[in-house]
Symmetry: C2
Subunit: 266 residues, 2 copies
């Protein structure tokens, strides 16, 4: 079983991704998780809703989610982006089903309403953050769909234990899914060739990372990449044997990733 | 098996609907189909997208759907509204799964790109309408979910035979589902007590209509009600034995409908 996570940038070669999955599907089951951050941000701007990115005291960036922004999430992730990906997969001959973490309580999360935020030299407490960390995966639902030849196409948000819709960290949710489903290989596609020593220079690709030495490479993770690396660390702790961090813009993004053209963590 | 269709008005008593379904669920399987027209229209207005309602030469109203409006559909129906209903059902103890007609090609539709439109004394041809009429239902997917105790919560859009996302007439799709799933009882909830002789007077409820004489009552169907009645006619032709057209604003909307408090067509 192959788990593929695709970032929310709009330069992803989705046609290529679909064709690759179609080829792989003959041999093994695939689960797809996608982001939609670029669409979310564009939509938020059109609607005049602020996307507030905050930084924790330990330097990790995340988005503060109020009800207004959560609504934008719902419009962008399970609405606009998920359905277009599902339709594209179907045009490529795959029986795709789009699901958010809310559906069938696929991703159950522990709410995390309070957020410590570093603002210059002060640490501030933000309350009412509609977010949570995924802890429980509805494994039965995913297996049910895979067993009947449906390709699950999954995205945020998640649902809290109390049944509230909450924004969640996709990379962490992917790690939880990998562990729950005993996935051994995880492909992560985004709009870079892999992990770079110098973010401004795409020729500085780090080709391989020993999975036991991942922490040594945290220094190269900037911005949104921090959460990706933390998710990868958690996925490896959960039993994943190889992570392929690779270029979603490539002609055959998934096959290229598996062929080791990006950063291989194993 | 009970099929419940709920209109897209925002005065629906959703808490009541959830509680009713929870009670019914112990005895029989339920499938829920919902609209989101009010949310769609509000969102279109915020985004400056025009919702163009047109009238056919035979006097039937429908919405002309271009790509911009289809995007608004995706944001409102499977995005914002569907997920909130799913979460609410889960808070009421039901394992709901939200699906659009696109997912698993649940609603396959024949595209209908050209639209004849009556404008004053002229008939005009509008092309490029991203809409279709549902012809094939993925019965296996619905049964698979019901057999595993999941409650399907279904909405527009549909997918064309060629894999394009298309807007579709919910009422017609419901009729197709009823026939494909051999549903005998159909509940339709909206923001009126039932079919009214005088639309401006809620005391003029038509209590019962003989299902073989439905056409005699077309004269009382105005605006969006026309398509509802046409859908009901098709559902009856497909084998539905009783249709309960009833008030979604009532304290127990589904139980009241089944108890015959609205318009009963049988």
């Amino acid at each position: 079983m192959l788990l593929i996570k695709i970032g929310g940038g709009q330069t992803i070669n989705w046609e290529g991704v679909c064709q690759d999955i179609k080829l792989l599907w003959e041999k093994e089951k695939v689960i797809l998780v996608h982001g939609a951050s670029k669409t979310r941000n564009e939509l938020a701007q059109k609607l005049g809703v602020q996307v507030k990115t905050v930084t924790s005291p330990s330097g990790i960036q995340s988005v503060y989610t109020d009800q207004e922004l959560l609504d934008v999430f719902l419009m962008a992730y399970p609405g606009l982006v998920n359905k277009k990906i599902v339709a594209l997969l179907q045009r490529n001959g795959l029986e795709a089903i789009g699901l958010s973490g809310v559906d069938g309580r696929l991703w159950q999360a522990k709410p995390k309403k309070d957020l410590l935020v570093q603002e210059e030299n002060r640490v501030k407490l933000l309350t009412g953050n509609l977010t949570g960390r995924v802890e429980i995966i509805n494994v039965n639902l995913i297996k049910l769909l895979l067993d009947h030849n449906y390709l699950p196409v999954i995205c945020s948000p998640a649902i809290s234990f109390e049944g509230e819709i909450v924004n969640t960290d996709n990379d962490w949710a992917v790690a939880m899914m990998a562990e729950a489903l005993k996935v051994k290989r995880l492909v992560i596609l985004f709009d870079k060739p892999g992990l770079l020593r110098d973010l401004s220079d795409e020729t500085t690709l780090i080709k391989r990372i020993d999975k036991d030495r991942l922490e040594d490479f945290f220094q190269y993770a900037a911005g949104r990449m921090q959460k990706k690396i933390m998710g990868i660390k958690r996925a490896i702790e959960g039993g994943v044997e190889a992570v392929f961090l690779s270029d979603g813009r490539a002609p055959s993004p998934v096959l290229s990733a598996l062929a080791g053209l990006g950063t291989v963590i194993n």
